[in-house]
């Protein structure tokens, strides 16, 4: 069961992200890998996981092969416990009903700040990205797990623009900015799993993915990573994880 199987980078990402969730949690999941990973967790070790979607869904139970193209589509509501307004579902974050926010990311920095708005000067951007959506609300109001591709241009020292706040400039700057609750909890990539230093709030390596070296992670990161003695190595995906994932996304919509 622990012998290596063939899998793609995005399959690994989805599976490792799913493992971060605990049964009984309430998780606010973004579309793509987070939605898929939360659904996977629900089918594996978290049968009592409550999945929320930004479109206005509580307690979703997405059907295999019927992954929605956004979190605002009717597919998100199939066999859900509740459908409500989208301001209302976001307010659940503010009130505190949500344990974990679970999102993808385009660009992240050493304090876990995410950018999905602008590449370059916001007044004259090189690239206008889509923007925050619910990302800013989720990351402002709850504990975050981010699943994203690990590339040097995506892991930068300082994001061009803080769309979704992590720990802002580290230490207590997040709370001082008016965000006393939540913050980055984990970042999951195809190379490693990261957490954040309790005091400085800088990103640190928690575990390396199977077959990945410290150097490989550092080489693909645009800032100095914190390593400490406890860095472990993650168990590779199991056959059950892989087969369940492939059953959920047979068309490889989010695991190409």
């Amino acid at each position: 069961m622990t012998k290596p199987h063939k899998y793609t980078a995005s399959e690994l990402l989805a599976i490792l992200a799913a493992r971060q969730l605990k049964d009984g949690q309430v998780v606010f999941a973004g579309v793509g890998v987070p939605l898929l990973a939360a659904t996977l967790a629900q089918r594996l070790h978290c049968p009592g996981l409550t999945i929320l979607f930004e479109g206005g869904v509580i307690g979703a139970f997405v059907e295999p092969g019927q992954l929605p193209p956004s979190t605002n589509d009717q597919r998100c509501t199939k066999r859900a416990n509740m459908v409500l307004g989208s301001a209302e579902v976001l307010l659940l974050l503010q009130r505190g009903y949500v344990d974990v926010g679970f999102m993808g990311g385009a660009q992240i920095d050493q304090y876990g700040n995410l950018n999905s708005s602008f590449i370059g000067d916001p007044d004259h951007p090189k690239t206008r990205l889509p923007g925050t959506g619910g990302g800013n609300d989720i990351s402002s109001l709850t504990n975050m797990i981010v699943a994203m591709k690990h590339e040097k241009r995506r892991f930068v020292e300082k994001v061009d623009f803080i769309t979704s706040p992590g720990f802002i400039r580290g230490n207590n700057t997040r709370a001082e900015s008016g965000l006393p609750q939540g913050g980055m909890f984990r970042v999951v990539t195809e190379l490693a799993i990261f957490s954040f230093d309790d005091v400085t709030k800088r990103m640190k390596v928690l575990a390396l993915n199977p077959g990945v070296t410290r150097e490989e992670v550092q080489d693909n990161t645009g800032f100095d990573l914190v390593f400490n003695g406890q860095t472990s190595v993650t168990e590779p995906p199991t056959e059950r994880e892989l087969s369940t994932l492939r059953m959920l996304d047979p068309d490889r919509l989010f695991t190409a």
Binding site: A87, P130, G134, G178, L179
Partner: protein, 340 residues
């Protein structure tokens, strides 16, 4: 590669200055007087799509219902483009291919939203990038909840809502319309976001009566607050039902008739987007659209407008171009939400 047609001049005007009306809170007395002048009596208000679009004046602010690819009032937007409306400032919680159409057609030069691309499946919208990066139009970014709180303040008749996100981020820094305060009760930092009361809201629903009493199935997004906040509401509906049917289950009415100023029956009025329980998105059409416009955000987009918006005789003509096969398949998938 499609031939680049000469695009109308209005498409090239520069973005308007910062103090457009969507940024400013309307004084209470102005809001009240606007509302007092509306005919809120119980009366039939069924009109054609053409008449409905004629109620939208150039240069006004427009709130768009639904979200992303769901319950988008697409037939109304399509008709606004055909009517060559100009300089609309459009707000929507999450804006999708409708945003492309509004910018590229020259109908709008100002988008207020939290997210703007065609859909998560397709990456960035090259059409949005062309217009925003080129400075031809403005896209004001707010957090998703902030858009909701702005409509909610507008719906409640108060000038702002307090909230706890956006703080500390650059999203708030780029929005001078917000105010950060220390709470007078708890001394906590809070962000006040200004009410948004669009001149007109465009909303598509599954069913309503001739007076505008609307039922919305499934995801309601921010449509109820938007309807209450707007100074006028134009509603399209898959089906007009009797007032008797509405009155038999009054707790299913989501928008009351007296906020609605015009009703248009438009089957498939959200196509190629979805309408909960009726049809899912028409992804073949959308994928072809995205491929065409992202490969050539000016010419490809103009060709789409010519072929699919200006070209057809009427809305059914547009639907015919999407094709019966895709409409039937989308409808079958749409109804499947109720199969359990």
């Amino acid at each position: 590669m499609p031939k680049r047609k000469k695009r109308p001049a209005r498409q090239w005007r520069r973005a308007r200055p910062m103090n457009v009306i969507q940024d400013t809170v309307q004084p209470y007395n102005v809001l009240r007087e606007n509302l007092a002048r509306r005919d809120r009596s119980l009366r039939e208000k069924v009109v054609t799509l053409e008449e409905a679009a004629s109620f939208v004046n150039d240069g006004t602010t427009v709130g768009i219902g639904g979200s992303t690819m769901s319950r988008t009032p697409m037939a109304l937007i399509w008709q606004l483009i055909r009517a060559r409306k100009k300089k609309l400032s459009c707000s929507r919680c999450i804006i999708s291919t409708d945003g492309d159409l509004l910018l590229a057609s020259g109908v709008s030069d100002h988008i207020v939203s939290s997210w703007f691309a065609q859909g998560i499946l397709w990456g960035l919208s090259k059409v949005m990038r062309h217009h925003i990066e080129g400075g031809h139009a403005r896209y004001d970014e707010w957090s998703h909840m902030a858009i909701g709180m702005r409509f909610r303040a507008g719906a409640m008749g108060v000038p702002f809502m307090p909230m706890r996100s956006m703080l500390g981020s650059d999203v708030a820094k780029r929005r001078p319309e917000t105010k950060e305060i220390d709470c007078p009760f708890t001394a906590e930092k809070l962000l006040l976001v200004p009410a948004l009361n669009p001149d007109v809201a465009l909303i598509h629903v599954q069913r309503c009566d001739a007076y505008g009493n609307a039922q919305i199935d499934g995801l309601q997004f921010m449509d109820i607050d938007l309807a209450m906040a707007a100074n006028r509401v134009i509603m399209t509906t898959e089906r007009i039902v009797s007032n008797d049917q509405i009155r038999r289950a009054p707790d299913q009415t989501k928008i009351p008739f007296f906020c609605v100023d015009a009703v248009v029956e438009v089957p498939f009025g959200s196509a190629p987007h979805e309408c909960y329980g009726v049809y899912e998105p028409m992804l073949d059409h959308l994928e072809a659209y995205v491929k065409q416009v992202n490969s050539d955000p000016v010419g490809g987009m103009q060709k789409y407008l010519d072929d699919y918006v200006y070209g057809p005789k009427d809305w059914n003509g547009f639907l015919s171009k999407i094709g019966l096969d895709e409409l039937v398949a989308a409808s079958r998938r749409g109804r499947s939400i109720y199969d359990d």
